[in-house]
Point group: C2
Chain length 253, copies 2
């Protein structure tokens, strides 16, 4: 990876950001490798969906806290699209409702998922770190932390066919969330990329933009580490958190 503290122009910055994605995006995580190749059991997929709900649920809150700090109405209106995508709007349901459906189709009780009681503490800590980052850092860093969306279409392109082929309990309808994101993420990422290319106009700012993306990669990675630890490596499920039915797991193994 190139030295992120000496990036001399917007093209260098963009190249560095793409390198970070190629090396640190969570498509590379062992848990995703298992998920996308049909090697998890249903309980493990449920654990993934339920924990990921907590992440999804905080994204519009993260975007709202960002909007609350934007003085330019044009920029704020651009950012609002993300909240509409996730929460829904006059045109209908958004991504969070679609994610909840995915959970329900996987056999989870939506009320239980929404209660957040089953999610791992480490998921919560990572997700909250993201919201706090966006609340506390500069606008430039806050916007830059969304840039993992540059790499989202790639992971969805792998996930959709991989999950459909790998699991008899996964249907085309369940992939609705990801199909929507295939269009939304590039639009959002393109906007954020253009923003950081324009506004990161010093070497120090370009470094901060890269650091923000590295931070966000850590946020995503840490969530999968926690899932992998608790549900794949048998590192222990904290008391009171989602525990897949053991009998079901043994039958599937």
């Amino acid at each position: 990876m190139r030295d992120i503290s000496t990036l001399s122009c917007a093209d260098d910055l963009e190249a560095a950001l793409r390198e970070i994605g190629a090396e640190r995006y969570h498509n590379l995580h062992p848990f995703h490798r298992l998920l996308h190749t049909g090697r998890l059991d249903k309980g493990q997929v449920q654990a993934w969906a339920l924990n990921r709900y907590l992440y999804q649920s905080r994204i519009p809150m993260k975007d709202a806290t960002l909007m609350s700090r934007i003085t330019d109405p044009e920029l704020r209106r651009n950012w609002l699209v993300r909240v509409l995508d996730h929460d829904g709007g006059p045109a209908g349901e958004g991504g969070i409702a679609r994610w909840l459906k995915l959970c329900e189709w996987l056999g989870l009780d939506p009320a239980y998922v929404k209660s957040e009681q089953g999610a791992l503490p480490a998921t919560r800590f990572a997700v909250e770190a993201y919201v706090h980052f966006v609340r506390e850092r500069s606008l430039l860093e806050a916007i830059a932390s969304s840039l993992t969306e540059l790499f989202a279409p790639g992971i969805h392109k792998e996930r959709i066919p991989g999950m459909l082929a790998g699991y008899d309990f996964v249907s085309e309808a369940m992939m609705g969330y990801f199909r929507h994101r295939m269009d939304q993420a590039p639009r959002d990422a393109g906007f954020a990329l253009a923003y950081v290319r324009e506004h990161a106009d010093t070497m120090e700012k370009r470094r901060l933009v890269c650091e923000a993306l590295l931070f966000k990669c850590d946020v995503l990675w840490a969530q999968l580490d926690a899932l992998h630890h608790a549900y794949v490596l048998d590192g222990g499920i904290p008391p009171g958190r989602f525990a897949p039915d053991r009998a079901m797991r043994e039958a599937a193994a």
Copy 2:
């Protein structure tokens, strides 16, 4: 564990808090079981000390943010003792300096430890969640989240002889931090316990005090999960984070 939503008096509250400690305190974590019985190698003990430094370093910041919200000078002065214990004061060095010495004696470069570069992202997320909790919740909950100190003497009583017997690279001098905490923690925990016994004067407040202690147990537990995952179960060390010397590990194994 009793139902924490129906605690009818201070004695019930205290009994519930002690039950939470008996079931959820991190002395029960598998990583601590290994640490305290000589079953880790030096690199794994280094990883523990280095990550734990990040936690130690945030404790006085957490206490300062709490103090910044206390209007009663008497209560603030009582809380100040904790900052003096960790940061040091006119009488000399505090716990953070002692922890840094422990790291150095374990063969780590103190400048590297202080840079925080080697710490796991999950450690940072958990530790920051604690600081944010104390900043954002009620004073009662913030104070209650310190109550894990009720159970600290027990873990130190196990750790000091366990580490001295288990590792030829651990000396009596290195246990200085823990010996100091044997006196400090009960004094602080006694103060916080008396505070919550007096101020949690409704069922709802007693429940919130228990929830705060459960949250704090999660903060401690998640840090050990992350260590266990990265350094014991070989779940992967995130790029750029502390990697014990492989050769050293193999020699020790």
